[in-house]
Symmetry: C2
Subunit: 80 residues, 2 copies
């Protein structure tokens, strides 16, 4: 079994109102050091099989087809 | 300036219907190797200052007070 973590984040320049709201909430709680906050998503997957190269190419395909909107999001894949 | 990434994931045993929906969607797309999918959140923060220890303790406090629900979620902090 292969475990993988996919992290999807907004591309630079794409507005992130959710991150902005969190930034303001943190500053409101007194965390004055907080500069910017951007929120993203993480997916922890378990894949059957043991071929890491095949898994990585499948994971890239999953990101392109479903997990990330590559127009506005970047993704990174870590296989462990 | 200090950059940090906070990753918030559901604890083991906590139901994740969103992850389940993604799992079924991936299997529906033909990714038969997919076992389980769990979804979490990631926050990329920029903090002013250069004291890493102080930043880490502030980040832990942010997680406990706002970013994570520690009853059902774990968090990890990576300062770069």
């Amino acid at each position: 079994m292969i475990k993988a973590r996919i992290t999807v984040t907004l591309k630079n320049g794409v507005l992130d109102p959710q991150g902005k709201a969190i930034e303001h909430a943190l500053q409101g709680l007194g965390f004055d050091d907080v500069g910017s906050v951007r929120q993203g998503k993480v997916f922890d997957l378990e894949l059957s099989g043991t071929d890491r190269d095949r898994a990585e190419s499948e994971l890239r395909s999953m990101c392109d087809r479903l997990l990330a909107n590559t127009v506005i999001e970047n993704y990174s894949i870590a296989v462990s």
